[in-house]
Amino acid sequence: MKTQRRNFLKIAAMAVLGWGVRPASELLAAGGGTASEGLLFASRHKVHVGPNALTASRWAMVIDTAKLNEKVMEDIVHTCHSIHNVPTIPGNQNIKWIWETHMDHLFLEDLHEYQPEAGAKSALALCNHCDNPPCVRVCPTKATFQREDGIVMMDFHRCIGCRYCMAGCPYGSRSFNFMDPRKHLETTNPDFPTRTKGVVEKCEFCAERLAEGKMPACVEVSEGALAFGDLGDPESEVRKLLAERFSIRRSPTLGTKPCVYYLV
């Protein structure tokens, strides 16, 4: 009796393993999502936009620090945060997608102390949508992922809130929802979701507007201070600006290949 039972259990276990191969491989191949996602390793997601969308081979932003001023930066931050339902939370558990900060904080030791008096003292910080993003590399669920056109996106549905991406980002561009954001929203834009507590969020280069053929909101209200375009198109506004004037990026020696350029 005993040996029969043991043999039965052994054969049953083998059978379960065998029968499990096909469903397991189907689950893995699907990536649990749509076909644009790669198998296992994080890879650039194909983008299937509609006919009206703006497309590019590599989106980038150029910020002209000379054209920024207090009012423009305030408008930019206010516009971005209000159309994306970014809450205004007092204290250090705050959320910001784009914000004004001192040039020293943006470029750390890259800028010496003998800069021209008339030069910009502050500029905008936002996600750099790096070409080699460490945040995407470390995300355990591919909740943050990179599109073929270079935009680093967030899938708020999949994020487990481990905040590894926040530790990985060398620019401090990411924010976490420590609490329910709806408690700190004065107005809500019904055309864009809010997020819940427990997920990470950041600037997405207004991918939802690009899909409708519109430029990112910050660019539209920037009065020409922000330019946005395709690095792969030599005739694009961004390429022309980069060819005309000297520009720098934040901490490029880290190998992240950031795609937000600052004209100084």
């Binding site: 999502g33 749509t34 076909a35 644009s36 996602e37 997601h45 194909k46 983008v47 299937h48 936009v49 509609g50 969308a53 339902n85 992922f145 599109r147 996106m153 899938d155 708020f156 549905h157 809500t188 834009n189 019904p190 055309d191 864009f192 979701p193 809010t194 997020r195 819940t196 991918a207 899909a211 409708e212």
Partner: protein, 128 residues
């Protein structure tokens, strides 16, 4: 068997608990599909009623991944050959404006709690 009495009593208690839904509902009416408020300003939904009743959950999940991860915003309806935007707030809820009288009615009856509206804004919700 050992402890025969304890086992049989325990087994009887277990069976009673497990079959509770069945014997508790003897004599009650059959499941009544709740009366849903139809949209005032639209005739056709994205798909047929039968399809939506059975598939709207899976369809919304597919839309979610296709929009967020694939950037694919356009939905080509098989029922009426129109193109819709894949969005709960911007498409579904533009017609089905009243979440209480439409969405919640069935969900409450079958006791499911989708958490879509934790994030996706219910357009009329703020006014309550």
């Amino acid at each position: 068997m050992y402890d025969k009495n304890k086992i049989l009593i325990g087994l009887a208690v277990f069976v009673v608990f497990m079959t509770y839904p069945f014997w508790n509902n003897i004599g009650s009416a059959a499941y009544q599909r709740p009366e849903l408020e139809k949209p005032k300003n639209a005739k056709d939904c994205v798909e047929s009623v039968e399809f939506m009743r059975a598939e709207h959950m899976a369809m919304l999940n597919e839309w979610r991944d296709e929009v967020v991860r694939g950037g694919e915003h356009e939905y080509h309806s098989t029922a009426n050959h129109q193109v819709f935007q894949k969005s709960l707030s911007k498409t579904c809820m533009k017609c089905h404006e009243n979440k209480d009288q439409f969405c919640d009615k069935c969900h409450a009856t079958v006791s499911v709690n989708p958490y879509c509206w934790d994030c996706h804004v219910d357009p009329k919700g703020e006014k309550k």
